[in-house]
């Protein structure tokens, strides 16, 4: 259906504020690709460029072999789900979903049938005569998704669609998105700042920082083998160790990457008094439910440790130990 | 700027420039020419004792109107802001209705009340408190009463919206700490609604300063203000240069007060937010 090739995309606001820097990205036909990054990293700008809501400055976007850089937004036939839902307040749910179909050359009965069918697929049939302000946030977002899918778009764009929902609805809604996306085999770009929700449903994830893609890979690979310090920090690696220091202490690691940093997740560190690799003093102790989190001051700075062990208190001198296999080498970012 | 933005703004901008700004500027120019120096027309305007008196009367009426509407508006608006539901709606309608009613009608009502055979004189005569009617109409007082009646609803509306945003917890906190209500009102409430006070005061002051109908109907020929003088010089006497001078004096006074009150309001507002930060 639609493969997307993004070539050398650059974008800046005003003269000196560059948002995207020479960014290239291939999105496979039918895959769900997430763009993960903190606010201000350029992910929303990229999505708006793909959608056509923002005029392009440099680079090109090829969809299914055709250059769409100069195609106006209303002719692109992309579906988009907005963070604010953006339902038309003066139309019923049925009218909201049917609105896009009225632009297509379809008979009235075809529009009616198609709208009903998409309402059924998204579980909104009972709500079809309600007005948007009579719906809950989750229901509104469902309508927004139905409206985007109704026009049978070549590409589905999701702009932080879950961030206005509460925790429980978020999980429900992301599963709904994943189910519909797989069913319709639709090329989908999902923009988010939440690594958990994007790992759960994505085929691949592009981690963005300062207008560049730092790493593009499957969720599993990104989680297990973050490439840069930024990616590692973003997916929950809290502790960083200089390679030079590790070498001096005869730590074993693969040493195949040229970077200068190693990283380790907080739950991979054990606390104990013998066979220590690193000594420190407990600064903070927090109960997190499943485990405790200790922040330990060491000669390498503060290290975070997530553990079941609860018998250490603030100011206790303790030793940190971990399996050397848990250490991950990082490339130097810029 | 985008081409479309220009297209959307241009008709309005052109109309305003051709139909408002240009006529106003054109009106200004002759006041600076035709005399010996560029200020001749103004010198002769201000050298007339009568004109100076009219300026002071205009200012006096505007100041008094602002103060009286504030004095009556502050408690009234406080009361309205504490109401809710149906009563608040009914009272809002009562306050809004005069704003939307023709000024002639509103001033005419006061002619009825203040006139020689008006309601007040009739009543006082019947009660034998006075033997001959008092001169209430065609005085400065009548103009002030009329202007207060005209602008009080505007002051109340500005103050109500300010009071409604007021954080009542701060007020309660001050009372819990033992401040007397009157102290709380002046030290806690007034500073917080200063924006409403200034917005209301600007609207009332400038409105009273430039009002035509009220002084025309309630002031009579003896108690002229700048607006009625402007009308007399232009329409009745056809002296356009003098009328233009008056127009400029009126506009300048209105602008200066607007800018000054806006500035004071901003300074006070900044001071308030600063205090909260500390």
């Amino acid at each position: 259906m639609a493969q997307i090739k993004i070539n050398n995309l650059s974008h800046s606001y005003q003269k000196n504020k560059q948002i995207l820097k020479d960014l290239s990205l291939d999105i496979h036909d039918g895959e769900l690709l997430s763009i993960l990054g903190p606010s201000g990293c350029g992910k929303t700008t990229m999505l708006r460029l793909i959608s056509g809501l923002l005029p392009m400055q440099e680079g090109s976007i090829i969809v299914a072999g055709g250059d769409i850089s100069k195609v106006p937004v209303y002719k692109r036939n992309f579906g988009m789900v907005f963070q604010s839902y953006a339902l038309f307040p003066h139309m019923t749910i049925f009218q909201n979903v049917a609105f896009g179909l009225k632009r297509k050359k379809l008979s009235k009965s075809e529009i009616f049938e198609k709208t009903l069918s998409i309402l059924k697929t998204t579980g909104l049939l009972d709500l079809k005569d309600r007005m948007p302000n009579e719906l809950s946030g989750g229901q509104q977002q469902r309508v927004s998704l139905a409206r985007a899918l109704a026009i049978n778009p070549d590409v589905l764009l999701l702009d932080e669609p879950l961030s206005n929902l509460d925790a429980k609805l978020r999980i429900e809604m992301r599963e709904e998105i994943s189910r519909l996306q797989k069913k319709m085999k639709m090329t989908t770009i999902f923009v988010t700042h939440d690594q958990e929700e994007c790992f759960a449903i994505s085929d691949r994830v592009a981690v963005m920082n300062h207008g560049k893609i730092e790493q593009l890979d499957t969720p599993q690979n990104i989680f297990r083998h973050p490439k840069t310090k930024f990616v590692a920090a973003f997916v929950g690696y809290e502790n960083f160790v200089p390679k030079q220091w590790a070498k001096e202490h005869n730590w074993r690691y693969n040493d195949i990457i040229s970077g200068s940093q190693l990283t380790i997740r907080p739950e991979k560190i054990e606390l104990g008094s013998n066979e220590n690799i690193l000594n420190g003093k407990v600064l903070v102790k927090n109960f997190l439910g499943n485990n405790y989190q200790y922040i330990v001051e060491t000669e390498l700075g503060r290290m975070k440790v997530d553990t079941q062990q609860e018998n250490y208190e603030i100011n206790d001198d303790i030793g940190l130990s971990f399996s050397e296999k848990s250490l991950i080498e990082l490339e130097d970012g810029d | 700027m985008k081409k479309r933005a220009v297209l959307f703004l241009l008709p309005g901008l052109l109309l305003i420039f051709i139909l408002l700004i240009y006529p106003v500027i054109r009106m200004f120019i002759p006041t600076f020419t035709g005399g010996q120096t560029i200020f001749s027309n103004y010198q002769s305007f201000f050298s007339s004792e009568n004109n100076v008196q009219i300026i002071f009367r205009t200012l006096f009426i505007a100041v008094m109107t602002t103060l009286v509407t504030l004095g009556l508006g502050l408690p009234t608006a406080y009361w309205i802001s504490r109401l809710s539901g149906r009563w608040r709606k009914i009272i809002s309608i009562i306050v809004l209705f005069p704003i939307l009613t023709n000024a002639v009608v509103r001033n005419f009502a006061w002619i009825m009340i203040l006139g020689k055979n008006g309601v007040i004189n009739n009543f006082l005569m019947k009660m034998h408190i006075i033997s001959s009617p008092l001169t209430l109409l065609y005085t400065n007082l009548a103009i002030i009463i009329g202007a207060v009646y005209l602008f009080l609803p505007i002051m109340i509306t500005s103050l109500v919206s300010s009071y409604t945003q007021l954080n009542s917890e701060i007020e309660e906190a001050a009372e819990v700490l033992g401040s007397r209500p009157i102290v709380v009102f002046f030290k806690i409430i007034i500073p917080q609604i200063s924006v409403g006070i200034f917005t209301g005061s600007i609207l009332v002051f400038v409105g009273a300063l430039t009002a035509y109908t009220t002084p025309q109907l309630l002031g009579g020929n003896k108690n002229m203000v700048l607006a009625t003088l402007l009308q007399q010089q232009s329409i009745t006497l056809g002296d356009w240069t003098s009328a233009s001078v008056i127009a400029i004096v009126l506009t300048v006074i209105a602008f200066i007060t607007m800018i000054a009150l806006n500035w004071v309001s901003k300074v006070i507002d900044r001071r308030n937010s600063h205090e909260i930060k500390n």
Binding site: - | P23, P75, L96
Partner: protein, 260 residues
């Protein structure tokens, strides 16, 4: 706390009475039988309402004021809606300046506007009085339109327009199918407020009415200079009824807070 509320409610109550009583008196005097206005009235008659419709100045003035108010309000909306759309939706350098230019008719004293327009439009340009009057009232209405519509547009989520573009509607159709229906209330409120202010205006109208162009408020003003009979009360009552009717429309469809 209690004493403060008691004090303010007493003052508030008196203020409300002072606001209503004068207008109520006008209503009462319109039914009086005496040839000059007196209060309290003796007798009861509808004669003055009858007389009112015999006065060509009032009848024609009423018609003309209606026509001018409707045309001026529509013109202000026609010019104001695109301007407000541009001011709230496009990236505009020095947006505040443009905003202030559009609000400038409200900053210049009305009587000065009337005088300036009379000099330039009527005398220099030789425009007909009716056209000049319309222009004056258009300028009067424009700031109300700009203010109310700006508030309405700022309340409207920009994404709903983008959503309409995304499903295939171009910007022009989106404007009419999505934007206009959603700012309908602000448009109505702006129209009502413009209408009332144009209909009631005196300072601008003063300079541009004449024997051939009667406007109601200035006709009443002229009538009051020579007469003091309850006809004025009667016409005042008619004006109050119009105001009340417009307020009822506003309350029913918009909520009164839209007007302030």
């Amino acid at each position: 706390m209690k004493s403060k509320i008691r004090f303010s409610s007493i003052v508030g109550f008196i203020v409300l009475l002072l606001l209503i009583l004068p207008l109520a008196m006008v209503v009462v005097t319109s039914f009086g039988t005496e040839a000059t206005i007196s209060f309290p009235i003796k007798g009861f008659t509808f004669e003055w309402y009858h007389n009112l419709f015999q006065q060509p100045d009032f009848v024609d003035g009423m018609k003309m004021s209606f026509i001018v108010a409707i045309i001026a309000s529509c013109l202000a909306l026609l010019v104001g809606i695109p301007a407000v759309y541009a001011l709230t939706r496009f990236q505009i350098h020095r947006r505040n300046w443009f905003q202030n230019i559009f609000l400038s008719p409200a900053l210049i004293p009305e009587i000065v506007i009337g005088f300036a327009l009379y000099q330039t439009l009527v005398i220099s340009f030789g425009l007909p009085l009716f056209i000049s009057l319309l222009i004056g009232h258009f300028l009067l209405c424009l700031p109300y339109v700009i203010r109310l519509l700006t508030a309405g547009m700022l309340d409207l989520d920009k994404s709903i327009e983008e959503a309409a573009w995304m499903v295939g509607y171009n910007k022009v159709i989106t404007f009419f199918k999505i934007v206009i229906p959603n700012i309908k209330q602000s448009i109505m409120a702006a129209f009502i407020l413009s209408f009332i202010n144009s209909f009631n205006n005196i300072p601008i109208t003063l300079f541009m009415n004449g024997p051939s162009l009667n406007m109601l408020p200035t006709s009443i003003l002229n009538y009051l200079e020579n007469n003091y009979d309850p006809t004025v009360s009667a016409v005042s009552v008619i004006l109050m009824i119009i105001t009340a009717a417009l307020m009822m429309i506003a309350e029913k469809y918009l909520g009164l807070n839209k007007l302030v």
